[in-house]
């Protein structure tokens, strides 16, 4: 079940209060990739203030955010703008607003966590296999890092890969931690 497209959901996910924002635009002024955004960060906040969650969650801008936290750091009202965009991305995926290309970020993050759940630490090569199993090739553009580098001979030549990384001894414990954290209804 996707979560409600309501302001409450967004604020709860982000632990932030949208009405605190007074639209000064400092988030937009400092954003390193603002030129690529269809809606400026302050405009996204404004949409949320107006209750137009769907328009905000369907905005392409949320997928441009690099989570550098400049906006949050400089916000005069201490609104966690970056956190709100995080929440919007999550809702966007759940409600199917995101294009396959945009879904990559979150799908990658899920694969990443799944990998950790099973291994305790990141197993890079396995992560790649996992992508494929999760239908990652839907959009036929395998993530860049893997395309041009990770799998490339260069990394291997530079011995920048452990083919068999040391694994965690008590891997079951990690599984239990995940289970307990996910039991409380938060999205896995």
């Amino acid at each position: 079940m996707p979560q409600d497209l309501s302001l409450d959901t967004v604020e709860e996910l982000a632990h932030a209060r949208v009405q605190d924002c007074y639209q000064c635009g400092k988030c937009s002024a400092g954003c390193p990739i603002v030129e690529r955004m269809d809606n400026l960060p302050n405009q996204l906040l404004r949409l949320l203030q107006l209750g137009r969650i769907e328009r905000a969650a369907a905005s392409a801008a949320i997928w441009e955010c690099v989570s550098c936290m400049t906006c949050t750091t400089r916000c005069p009202k201490a609104v966690d703008c970056a956190g709100l965009l995080d929440a919007l991305r999550q809702l966007s995926i759940e409600h199917g607003f995101a294009s396959p290309a945009q879904r990559r970020t979150i799908l990658f993050q899920r694969a990443f966590l799944d990998n950790i759940r099973r291994n305790g630490r990141l197993a890079e090569l396995e992560l790649v296999r996992q992508f494929k199993m999760q239908g990652f090739l839907d959009d036929l553009s395998v993530p860049q890092l893997f395309k041009d580098a990770l799998l490339g001979p260069q990394l291997l030549r530079r011995r920048k890969l452990h083919l068999r990384p040391r694994r965690v001894k008590d891997r079951k414990l990690v599984g239990r931690i995940f289970a307990r954290c996910q039991a409380n209804g938060e999205k896995p």
């Binding site: 000064c24 635009g25 400092k26 002024a29 400026l40 302050n42 005069p76 009202k77």
Partner: protein, 666 residues
């Protein structure tokens, strides 16, 4: 008290329509302690009052209850009437059988019953009333004004002109305050110094004003009308009486590198100096941290140059005591520290704006000095780094203000007007220059204010962008300002030659200390609290202490001056009588029972309770108890409710009275 008269009023038909006045009077006559019960058509009329006076005399009444309208309407009237009949006015109470009975209850039988109850309550109270005398406090007709900025000057002159002596205390070497450093003032663009300096001179020459510069309030004792104030006069190292202010000394002083406070560091001054040419008093002062003689024991050129023999290197701080009747606090403001190094490599405040890092990022008060004809550039706008005339200037609003994350949530109120003024002054001096303003809202409420801002935009071509600036960096000698125009919905980067930050107004340093000395409350930012925001805007909760100017909240010059005159008027009103009369319905402590927990003291809104020491005959301290200062108590009774041993009581609403009132309803 057993000889109480009850006087029930018909109020024409107003009471009589719904209340059976005759029946009420008859029932009242039966109440314990009631001697007689009378009615009258209009009790507040002359014949009504005469009836009361005559009955008091004839029946030798020792208590009176008037059952008529609200005590807020006529309690004073009837108390005065009783006084004329030689009955202590505090032995008169009222039963409100009109507003709270006949006017709101139409069922005659129930309204009548209630009226009797209300009289019953009033009789119960009056039986336990005590004769009270108004508290008289003598008044010393002399005023202390703290702070010699425009507000302090205005207040001091208003009071002194009315013939009352004033002691004006100023921390800096000269009066004049922030206004003395301004170039021109909004919305008229008249020269700040031209209108202020004559007032400063007036202060210096006024026979009723004693001026202490380089001075601060050290201690305040006493209470309204009777303060004793100790003032610390810092060593000036100049014999002010001998000095002629000729200037030989500062022209010769070899220590020339101290940043000028008056120019906010944009210029330099000598160790012996006057802060600015029109300073009042027009006498120099020696900076003890910069003077070569005082720091290293050598030099002394000024002594050689001084023909008046006025240099005093052995000068010491001096304490001066003054008896004062009222205090006006006018300590003004300082600018928010835009970027303050925290000593661990970090900057608190606005690190992102590079203030202190890039010389061409300056504060609005620094810009005032750059435009001022008496400033370090002689009024030519030249930027600090290389002296070039800036062709693009960015002004940023709300630096510190309305920024919860940096600690100040309030609007500083004047910056919108300051920015508009600055863009105009800039354009008038640099015709081919372009001014940009980043703002969040334009707040220009005031006579001719909004028109002024529109002129800056429409006639002088300032570009206004609605948005905050996120970061300022420096590339190739220019300042790269990254902002946004939220109205256009576009990020905006401007390469500027000079950036001016309109920093927030904060109360001057040390105001909290002073506030504690005079028992005035202050808010989380240090602004002093007025007694009531609408009705007592210049009074404080400390009787006899008044506030005006920016120490009370951000304000501009006209407002500060208005408030200063208001404070002066309040003081003169207070001084219009030889003695102060205060309502005697105040708290008092039964010291033998007081356990000294001081819950009363904690809660008293007027700081009217002090610890007093009980000593035995040998002078040994037995214990400490609470004691009410009758000059300060306003009679709210919060202390009574808090006192667990009920050792404090409130005249007029004593425990005995209140319980008797409740009991009468049994």
């Amino acid at each position: 008290m057993a000889r109480i008269g009850v006087f029930t009023c018909w109020c024409g038909e107003n009471i009589a329509r719904n209340v059976d006045v005759q029946s009420v009077a008859e029932q009242a006559a039966q109440l314990p302690g009631v001697r007689c019960s009378q009615t009258h058509k209009y009790m507040c009329s002359d014949p009504g009052q005469k009836l009361i006076r005559d009955t008091i005399a004839a029946e030798r009444l020792d208590g009176v209850v008037i059952a008529s309208c609200s005590p807020h309407m006529h309690l004073k009237t009837f108390r005065k009437a009783a006084e004329h009949a030689d009955l202590n006015p505090y032995l008169v109470e009222m039963a409100n059988v009109r507003e709270q009975c006949s006017w709101v209850h139409s069922q005659r039988s129930r309204a009548t019953a209630k009226a009797v109850d209300l009289i019953r309550v009033a009789v119960a109270k009056v039986r336990h009333n005590r004769a009270l005398e108004p508290i008289q406090v003598p008044v010393t007709r002399k005023v202390l004004v703290v702070g010699g900025g425009v507000a302090g000057i205005q207040a001091a002159l208003d009071i002194a002109d009315s013939g009352v002596p004033v002691v004006l205390v100023e921390r800096e070497p000269s009066i004049g305050g922030k206004m003395a450093g301004l170039s021109e003032t909004f919305p008229t663009l008249d020269c700040s110094q031209c209108i202020l300096t004559p007032r400063m001179v007036e202060v210096a020459q006024h026979p009723n004003i004693t001026l202490h510069t380089c001075s601060e309030v050290e201690q305040v004792e006493g209470y309204v009308g009777n303060f004793r104030v100790t003032i610390r006069k810092q060593a000036r190292y100049i014999d002010v009486d001998k000095c002629t202010g000729c200037g030989q000394c500062w022209n010769a002083c070899p220590s020339k590198k101290t940043p000028s406070e008056f120019d906010y560091g944009l210029g330099k001054r000598t160790a012996i100096y006057t802060p600015f040419p029109q300073a009042v008093p027009a006498r120099p002062v020696i900076d003890r941290d910069a003077c070569l003689r005082l720091t290293k024991g050598r030099c002394g050129i000024c002594v050689k140059k001084c023909q008046a023999d006025a240099i005093r290197f052995d000068d010491q701080d001096e304490l001066v005591s003054e008896d004062i009747g009222a205090i006006i606090v006018a300590t003004g403001y300082q600018l928010y520290e835009i970027g303050k190094p925290d000593g661990q490599g970090r900057v608190t405040g606005y690190g992102e704006y590079g203030y202190g890092r890039y010389p061409d990022v300056i504060s609005s008060l620094q810009f005032e000095r750059l435009v001022s004809a008496s400033g370090p550039t002689g009024g030519e706008i030249r930027r600090p780094s290389d002296g070039a005339v800036p062709k693009t200037v960015v002004f940023i609003s709300c630096v510190g203000s309305r920024d919860n994350a940096k600690g100040l949530s309030y609007c500083s109120k004047i910056c919108c007007m300051v920015n508009a003024k600055h863009t105009m002054l800039y354009k008038h001096k640099v015709h081919d220059g372009q001014a940009h303003v980043f703002y969040m809202d334009i707040r220009a409420g005031g006579k001719n204010y909004d028109e002024f801002v529109r002129r800056a935009i429409e006639q002088d071509g300032a570009h206004y962008h609605r948005g905050r600036v996120s970061k300022i960096t420096q590339e190739d000698g220019r300042l790269i300002v990254r902002g946004v125009d939220t109205l256009a919905g576009e990020p905006l980067t401007i390469a500027a030659d000079l950036v001016v930050l309109a920093a927030a107004m904060r109360p001057a340093t040390g105001v909290e200390d002073l506030a504690q000395k005079v028992n005035v409350g202050y808010d989380e930012f240090g602004f002093l609290c007025e007694s009531h925001p609408k009705l007592r805007p210049v009074e404080t909760n400390a009787a006899g202490v008044f506030v005006c100017g920016a120490c009370h909240g951000p304000k501009d010059i006209p407002e500060s001056v208005t408030q200063a005159s208001a404070a002066a008027a309040k003081v003169l009103l207070m001084f219009s009588r030889d003695r102060l009369y205060r309502e005697p319905e105040i708290a008092h402590v039964q010291e033998s029972a007081c356990a000294g927990c001081f819950a009363c003291r904690r809660s008293c809104p007027y700081h009217a309770i002090d610890p007093a020491e009980i000593r035995d005959r040998q002078g040994q301290l037995v214990r400490r108890v609470a004691r009410v200062n009758p000059g300060l108590c306003m009679g709210c009774g919060t202390c009574v409710a808090l006192c667990v041993s009920k050792s404090v009581d409130l005249e007029g609403f004593s425990e005995e009275q209140v319980y008797a009132m409740v009991e009468s309803l049994r």
